[in-house]
């Protein structure tokens, strides 16, 4: 019998602790497939975030270190500077990357740090129980915006790809989503490019992945898939925000 589909070698067989309908499982698989396809598993070092994906070392079959909340780009910088021929990636959520770690993100991008950043944006804090994220939409109800995010009180959602596109060092910035097969195929293409760029020494690459959080959005998995198309994408349009040739 010919095997046409199997678990990527870069993904361990451990059971994921993610909630039903969460996008992390899909994104993990895409990252693992890309690492396999590029043949870099044995030279890759990942950085696990604080938040839902904190157990990345239990899921990715590569060397992984943890980092304090928001600091993965600094930790990645330390690794990459002493081992420039390794492939270094961070896997971060919206609180990690766009709130507490904004400075580390902006400066790693601005230095053109030759790393790959996978930025999972689900517009909410997942692990801590559904509080407002910097990317929470205006009017979106969360544990700390019970009446909906208010422009005057909370400010508008922070758009990371748009923000980082102003930095000289960012080589590649793309926003994708994983809410349907077509978008998932595009997301994989973007993730592959972000890793390929690093191998080609192009500098800082970030893929922002719009992802589902049905539990904290108080939706069914199907509703959350639709919500991305009907609501989320209006504030966070998909597309390439920078692609330095």
């Amino acid at each position: 019998m010919k095997s046409i589909l199997s678990r990527p070698l870069s993904l361990k067989s451990n059971e994921h602790l993610y909630c039903p309908g969460c996008g992390h499982g899909i994104i993990h698989r895409l990252v693992a497939e890309v690492i396999d396809e590029l043949g870099v598993r044995e030279k890759t070092i990942g950085i696990a975030p604080v938040g839902c994906a904190v157990f990345a070392y239990d899921y990715f079959n590569v060397d992984v270190t943890e980092a304090p909340h928001g600091r993965p780009p600094a930790v990645a910088t330390g690794i990459k500077r002493v081992l420039p021929d390794r492939v270094v990636f961070t896997y971060q959520g919206d609180g990690d990357l766009a709130a507490i770690g904004t400075a580390e993100t902006v400066h790693a991008a601005n230095r053109g740090e030759n790393i790959t950043v996978i930025f999972v944006n689900n517009a909410i804090y997942g692990m801590t129980g559904g509080q407002m994220a910097p990317t929470t939409l205006l009017g979106q109800k969360t544990a700390t915006t019970p009446a909906g995010r208010d422009l005057k009180r909370d400010g508008p959602p922070l758009k990371v790809c748009e923000l980082l596109s102003q930095t000289q060092g960012a080589a590649y910035l793309e926003r994708v989503a994983v809410n349907n097969p077509k978008n998932i195929i595009k997301a994989k293409k973007a993730i592959k490019k972000a890793f390929q760029n690093q191998i080609n020494n192009k500098g800082f690459s970030l893929v922002e992945v719009l992802s589902m959080c049905p539990v904290n959005w108080a939706m069914t998995p199907n509703e959350s898939i639709k919500w991305i198309d009907e609501v989320f994408l209006k504030t966070f349009p998909l597309g390439i925000y920078k692609d330095k040739q």
């Binding site: 598993r41 079959n61 060397d63 600094a74 930790v75 330390g78 002493v82 081992l83």
Partner: protein, 354 residues
């Protein structure tokens, strides 16, 4: 042997370089600015890593990343900057990673001033960051020791897989003294050497993947790690206590002081002896592990201790613990960048001797 005149902060850099320091990450703050400035030149010349981070937080986390790969990594700062680094220091300890952290202390609290101070004793020896942890803390009192301690700290950090802190102060950092440079044939660790380190993250080539984590959610797992770390701390306490003593055998008054304050105290104790008061000095070199045994062994009825510090009284608490009520422990100190002088100390010795 090569003797040259160096500033404390520069001697520190050269000591670390001689030990094979591969990567320096830092952020400017007075009075340690000579360190990143000198490292930016020397590390680059040597083909090693220098990076000025965007903040102290970023710098210590760059160290966390570099240390995780088995590289000899270092950062330096001064008091308010060290406060910012505490998060990363706690993670380094939790992940059991070696690194050199240098605090050239200034006056505090808050932004304080840029004068030399010893106000960070508590922060350095009692944790500072969150969690139950310890770091080897070395207190240099000469420019030579800035060189020597930086030179030996990587060995200690790697031996115990724990960060080592050099607790200097603005005076030792800024003063110039002749330094004997040890010509060492030690070469910086290469990426190939790093691959030989059993715990280093270098990419899982030909071996199962490794990970560094301090998050242990399983029932009892974190307690287990803490007990394991405690064994390590006990072994450090057993093997690494360092101190200097002078004229304590027959002393009626034993001064205890560290760093630059110890040099002032030493002169005052010698002058007291010239004037007929039997005074001696114990200078803790490792502030943690604290040399409690030599103090306990010398605590006898009829004797007095005088602790001299450039703070409101921090190490004096450890001295009192070691003395354990066997004789009086007095304190003389000046906080906020005030430097005790030998006349003040001598006067205090005379007052106590009465």
């Amino acid at each position: 042997m090569n003797k040259i005149l160096l500033k404390g902060n520069i001697a520190l850099c050269e000591g670390a370089i001689a030990a094979g320091c591969q990567a320096y990450f830092g952020y400017p703050i007075t009075p340690q600015n000579e360190v990143p400035a000198h490292m930016s030149k020397r590390m680059t010349e040597l083909g090693r890593v220098f990076l000025q981070a965007e903040s102290e937080l970023a710098a210590i986390n760059m160290v966390l990343g570099a240390a995780g790969t088995g590289a000899l990594a270092m950062t330096s700062s001064s008091s308010p900057g060290i406060s910012l680094k505490q998060e990363g220091i706690s993670y380094l300890v939790g992940c059991e990673l070696p690194a050199l952290i240098v605090n050239v202390q200034r006056g505090g609290p808050g932004l304080g001033n840029i004068a030399g101070s010893q106000g960070d004793y508590f922060q350095s020896t009692k944790g500072g960051g969150h969690g139950d942890y310890r770091m080897l803390v070395l207190a240099p009192s000469t420019v030579q020791e800035m060189y020597d301690f930086a030179n030996m700290s990587f060995g200690l950090a790697f031996k115990y897989r724990n960060p080592v802190l050099i607790l200097a102060d603005g005076v030792v950092g800024q003063m110039m003294e002749p330094v004997t440079i040890v010509t060492s044939d030690q070469k910086p660790v290469t990426s190939k050497d790093q691959q030989q380190i059993a715990w280093a993250l270098t990419g899982a080539k030909g071996r199962p993947p490794r990970f560094h984590r301090s998050l242990l959610m399983d029932d009892g797992a974190l307690e287990k790690l803490n007990w394991k770390l405690n064994e390590k701390y006990n072994s450090i306490k057993k093997n690494e206590v360092r101190y200097e003593s002078e004229n304590i055998e027959d002393a009626d008054i034993i001064l205890v002081a560290f760093g630059i304050a110890a040099r002032v105290a030493k002169v005052a104790a010698r002058k007291a002896r010239e004037q007929g008061i039997k005074a001696g000095l114990i200078r803790p070199i490792t502030l943690w592990p604290f040399p409690e045994k030599v103090i306990a062994d010398n605590a006898k009825p009829g004797r007095k201790f005088l602790v001299v510090e450039m703070n409101l009284g921090q190490m004096v608490e450890d001295v009192r613990l070691a003395v354990n009520g066997k004789c009086p422990v007095e304190f003389l100190g000046r906080p906020g960048g005030g430097l005790v002088n030998e006349q003040e100390v001598l006067q205090e010795i005379k007052t106590i001797a009465k």
